[in-house]
Each structure stands twice: as C-alpha cells, then as structure tokens.
C-alpha cells in the first residue's frame, strides 16, 4: 500500500530525514519509534503533505500513485489520514460541521453520495459513543478549549468517521492518561482491518501494549536503524534509546 524509498526531507533549510525506506502492506500496523528529534514526526507530516516540509529526494508510492504529486487535501480524500500530535484549535468552526464537510469531500472523491444531516449525525453519534466522547464536543469549535486528552480523542473520532485506508498516528499517546489511552487504543483497534494500514509514531512502548504492531522500526537521526517485530519495542523499553543512538551514529559513519 505504501512504499517509501530513499526519502530525504528538510524543514526550514535543515535536513531531518536522511534516507527512509519503509514498506507498509494493507492490514499491517507499523510502529515508528525513536528518541526526540529523530525525525518521527517529520516523517508523519511529510506523509500528510505538510507544506512546511520539503521533500528533497526519494519517492513515496501509495496505492501505486506518486503520493508526493498530491496536495494534502488530495491525499486525505484518497484515504490518507494523520492524527495530529498537536491538533489545531479553530475557533468558530463547528466540529460536526467541519467533519461533515470533510467526510462528504472524501465521499464525493470516491463517487459516493454525500450524507445528509440526519444520516451524518446518526453516524457521528454512534462513533462518539464508542469513544466515550460527550456529544457536546460535536457542537463545540474544533479543538477549542479541549483538554489534551479530548483533542487526541477527537482525532481518533475524526479517523473513525472518515475511515481512511492509511492512518498515520503522530504521538497520539502523548498527553493521555491511562484510561484515555485505553479508549483511544480500542478506537484504533476497532478500525484494524485487512484493507487498512496504520503507521503509529510513538516515543513510548506503552501505547504498543494496546495497539499491538506487526512491525517496529527505530528511527535515529533521520534513518531507520533497526526493524523488527513487537519484541523490539520491549527491548527499547528495557534498554532505552541510548544504545540505538550510538548504533545509529556508528552506522552512518
């Protein structure tokens, strides 16, 4: 589904990614781990098409298409979703109204009929309930005045409604208490399917106890320095990132 080859990218003239290779097949969950500053979030934002990140080399192929040719909104309508590390507060834009516009933009792209207000509200109320979200969050401005946990829950709620093919979760666990983490993880797990893939970016192993990955990749200084199965995450939990960083540094020289 997703094939990244030799990807290099920079932000504000500073190269952050130095050559990423990663293949994600439909149905798989890949965890991207790594210390702060290793390029995890940069990778997530490049996948989402953030205009502040410039791809300087390499390719990204998504469902056979050149993803880098597509603007952020085109990617979203083709099923690429990123749950933001820092969801943006947008005063005056009603959460449900926005989500309806987003869903119908995606449905239109896929040749589906747009949902009317009643069908839409039935859908979102069901999803909100599953995520134990208060209905009032639907009628509030997008993320405005939401707690850190509410913001992350709202991201997963958007994902559940939009039903992406490829979901990139950028440090969705940060700022979540253990109960919220469980609810959010259950929301993600409910979406796991043979047609859908996840790239889960996280600093901590904790999230991966709830969202069990098929593959774990360790990013250091803009490269994947190790890949393995779930056990790699546990190894990191034991040893920390120190040994990886020195190994990664060694590998570059």
């Amino acid at each position: 589904m997703l094939e990244i080859k030799g990807l290099t990218a920079k932000v504000e003239e500073k190269e952050i990614l130095h050559g990423i290779d990663l293949t994600v097949n439909a149905g798989e969950v890949h965890a991207i781990m790594g210390p702060n500053g290793s390029g995890k979030s940069t990778l997530a934002r490049v996948l989402a098409g953030h205009p502040g990140y410039e791809v300087t080399g390499g390719t990204i192929t998504y469902d056979g298409q050149d993803l880098l040719e597509l603007a952020a909104d085109e990617r979203a309508r083709k099923g690429v979703f990123m749950a933001f590390q820092y969801p943006v507060e947008i005063p005056g834009v009603n959460n449900a109204y926005f989500l309806k516009a987003a869903l119908n933009a995606t449905r239109k792209e896929q040749g589906l009929e747009e949902l009317d207000a009643i069908d839409f509200m039935t859908l979102v109320k069901g999803e909100a309930k599953r995520l134990q979200m208060d209905d009032s969050m639907l009628q509030r401005s997008v993320n405005e005045g939401f707690s850190g946990g509410e913001k992350k829950r709202n991201e997963i709620f958007h994902m559940a409604v939009l039903q992406p093919r490829l979901a990139v979760l950028d440090e969705t666990d940060s700022g979540l208490d253990i109960d919220a983490l469980r609810v959010v993880s259950e929301g993600v797990n409910a979406l796991r399917s043979p047609e859908r893939a996840f790239v889960v970016v996280t600093h901590y192993q904790r999230l991966l106890e709830y969202i069990v990955p098929d593959h774990v990749h360790v990013l250091s200084e803009g490269r994947i320095v190790r890949s393995g199965g779930r056990e790699l995450a546990l190894e990191l939990e034991d040893k920390g990132y120190g040994w990886i960083e020195s190994a990664g540094a060694g590998a570059r020289r």
């Binding site: 989402a48 098409g49 953030h50 205009p51 603007a71 952020a72 909104d73 990617r75 979203a76 309508r77 979703f81 990123m82 933001f84 969801p87 943006v88 947008i90 005063p91 005056g92 834009v93 926005f98 989500l99 516009a101 987003a102 869903l103 933009a105 995606t106 792209e109 401005s141 997008v142 958007h158 939009l162």
Partner: protein
C-alpha cells in the same frame, strides 16, 4: 480660521428642496449649511479624516436625487426581509409609501415617513431631528442642510416585537451622479423590545452618495437590536452618522455589516446616560478592489455602572483599505464602567491595509477598560489541518473566513438576513480571489 466656502452643487441641490418647508425646518437647514460651509469637506489634515480622503466625494458634482426613480421598486423588493413586521422604503431620500408594507403591528407602533411625522401632532420626530448635534461631523451637517424626509419608527413603551422592522434605503442614479440625505429617527420606549434592520442598497452605473443620519433613543430598559445592512453598489459613496442615546438599563445591540460601496465612512456614537445601560457595538466589513471602509466609533460612558462591548472584524482583499478608530470616553462620574473593545482584521493580500486606533479617554478611576487589535493573515496551521482532513484549499479558506465573520454575523437574530449577508460576503470574496 478657514474661509467660508460656497460649493455650487450643494447650493443648487439645496434649492432643489423647494420653498415649502416650515420655518423651523428652513432655519434648521440654513444653520446646518452655514456650519458646513464654515468647515467645508474635511481634508486629510483633519485628524478624524487622516487616513480617509473624501476628495472623490467633494470632487463629484452630485445632483439632488429625484424621488421618482424607475427600477427602485425592484431593488427594494430584492432586498426585503420576507418575515418582517413592516418594511418602510426610502427612494432617493424620500419615503415611498407605495413600496412600503405593514403587517399587523402592535398598537402604538409607528413606522412612517419622516416628513409625515413632522406634520403629525404629538410626534417627537421634529424635536429629535432638529436637536441633532453635528459638532465635528461635516457629513451630518450636510444631512441636516438637506433634511426633508426619511423614516420615523416608534416602538411604544412595553411593546415587544417578535418580527423585525426593516427600513430599505434605495439610492438610484439615472444618467447623472446623485445624492440623497435621508434621516432615520427611532424611538424605543421603556421596556420595549425590537429589532430594526436598516438596509442600504442602490443601483445604476453612476456614482451616488447616500449620506444618512440615524438618531436612536432607547428609553428605560428598552432592548433594541439595530442591524445595519450596507450593501451599496461599487460606485457608491456611503456616509452614515448613527447616534444612539441610552437611558438607564437600556440595551443596544448594534450590528453593522458593511459589504458595499467604494468609500464608506461610518460615524457611530453611543451615549450611555443611565445606570445599567449596555451597548454591544459590533461590526463586520469587507473592502476589496480599491475600496475604503472607515469605521469611527465613539462610546460615551456618561454615568456609573454601564457596560460596553465592542467587536469589529474586517476582511481586506485586493487594495482594500480600512480605518478603525474606537473612542471610549469614561466621564468623571462613570465609576464601575466596564468597557471592552476589540478590532480584528484579516488581510488576504499584500496590498491591503488597515489603520487601527483605539482612543481611550478615561476620567474615572474605578473602571475596567480593555482594548485590543489584531491584524493578520489566515492561520496556516489551521488551513493545513482542515486540508489534511480533505477540504480543498478554497473550502478551508472559506471555512476560516466564515468563522471569522460569524462572530458578528452569527449574532444577527434574523436568519434570512444572516444567510443573505453571508452569501453576499462570500460571493464578493470569491469574485476577488478568482481574479
């Protein structure tokens, strides 16, 4: 001391009013003309007009508009609110009874032509109109010099109107530039509740000047929502002095929407002259192309325990320019005043400009007064967030602009009008951005 200047087209226009006016009115006009000719059209040396040159107005020889204008009926009809309790139409400065319509108004409610009201026994219209204070307001002087007609609205004590009253002011030039100087007098009696919508529209390809004065009196505990719906043509000059006087406990909600005209100057003055009075003074405006929108507001806290809340929001595109001057006067006795002023502007192009100036004059010591101004572009991170969920760049932009304007538009209690104004705002923004 500047020399008196006689402007031929103004003298000619005034003669066009005829000679049948009663003595008080003839006197009122003559004194106003004298006052105007003493100061003349303001220049940019005048502090209040520093950023707003009215030279294009001064340099156009306007004829006094004729009350018979073909096509005015259609323009008025296109801008009427369907669910209004009454619609009073002014064509080229004069009340047009045949175009006006009244539903079932509660007893004592008056919606009439101002000239009619001047002739009506027991009406306050003449007293209020003749007491207009034009000090420092050259266009209000000009309005007084041409005082002839307009609209008089009375909502009597205790009356509660559940549907809006609408005044549609149409100025329609035919083959030459014209001017109209309508006067609107609104009396909201004690404990009354009403919504009044003032719609300013026009037509034709020629320039015109709609120079309005609106005088509003709110009695004890009256609640008045006053919506200014300014949708003049691109050739229009629009000058409006709105003066609102609030007694104790009165609540004024002014919602001024300015979406038309090539040069717009609004002078809004609210006087809070009884304890517990409150004024919300809100506005949203758009200037694109070469347009200029100047909002000068003045809130006079004359007595203690009054509150005012002011929020103006501007959207500027093209070479659009805006001026915002927000004066808050807190007089020595006005302790416990709570006044808040905010001016925000979005610049959608590099050539758009705004001059924003808060003017706080505080002579009491136990007060809370805050002001803030913010000028910027649309938030890139918010745009990206919306696009990353599938909205096109245009959809994302419109959603943010909508949210920006809606803080004011969304408060308008007449849904039909709110929708019409949103539609107008977005069709104009899209026209500009498509170029």
């Amino acid at each position: 001391m500047s020399a008196t200047q006689t402007i031929d087209w103004i003298r000619d226009g005034q003669r066009g009013l005829g000679t049948r006016a009663p003595a008080w009115l003839a006197d009122h006009r003559a004194r106003a003309l004298e006052a105007f000719e003493t100061i003349g059209f303001p220049t940019t040396r005048n502090e209040s007009y520093r950023f707003t040159s009215v030279a294009p107005i001064a340099g156009t020889a306007f004829d006094l508009a004729s009350p018979e204008a073909e096509g005015a009926a259609a323009i008025a009809a296109a801008n009427e609110i369907k669910d209004s309790a009454a619609t009073a139409v002014v064509v080229n400065g004069c009340f047009d009874e045949t175009l006006s319509a009244y539903g079932s108004l509660p007893l004592g409610v008056v919606v009439d032509g101002l000239a009619n009201a001047f002739d009506t026994d027991g009406s306050n219209a003449r007293d209020i109109a003749s007491q207009l204070d034009t000090d420092g307001l050259p266009f209000a002087m000009l309005n007084a010099a041409f005082l002839e007609d307009g609209i008089h609205i009375v909502v009597p004590e205790g009356a509660v109107l559940t549907s809006p009253l609408q005044v549609v002011v149409v100025t329609l030039p035919e083959d030459k530039a014209v001017m109209a100087h309508p006067r609107i007098v609104i009396e909201a009696g004690g404990q009354s509740q009403a919504t009044v919508v003032l719609s300013f529209v026009g037509g034709g390809g020629q320039p015109y000047l709609t120079n309005v004065v609106t005088q509003v009196r709110l009695g004890h505990g009256a609640v008045l929502e006053l919506v200014t719906d300014q949708r003049e043509t691109e050739q229009a000059f629009h000058t409006h002095h709105l003066h609102a006087y609030c007694e104790a406990g009165a609540i004024l909600h002014s919602r001024a929407v300015s979406l038309g005209g090539r040069l717009v100057r609004n002078d809004l003055a609210a006087v809070l002259d009884g304890e517990g009075a409150h004024a919300s003074i809100d506005g949203v405006y758009l200037a694109d192309g070469d347009e200029l929108v100047d909002n000068h507001t003045s809130i006079d806290h004359a007595v203690a325990h009054c509150t005012s809340h002011e929020l103006y929001k501007g959207i500027l595109a093209g070479k659009g320019r805006a001026v915002f001057n927000g004066r808050i006067l807190v007089r020595p006795d006005a302790q416990k005043t709570d006044a808040k002023q905010t001016n925000r502007a979005l610049l959608l192009s590099n050539d758009a400009t705004i001059n924003s100036n808060p003017q706080l004059e505080i002579f009491a010591d136990d007060v809370k007064c805050t002001h803030g101004a913010a000028v910027g572009q649309l938030d890139d991170e918010a745009l990206f967030y919306l696009q990353a969920r599938g909205l096109s760049p245009a959809q994302a932009r419109d959603m943010l602009l909508h949210a920006f304007a809606n803080e004011v538009l969304g408060e308008i209690s007449v849904p039909e009008l709110r929708i019409a104004l949103e539609h107008r705002l977005f069709s104009r923004i899209n026209r500009y951005l498509a170029e």
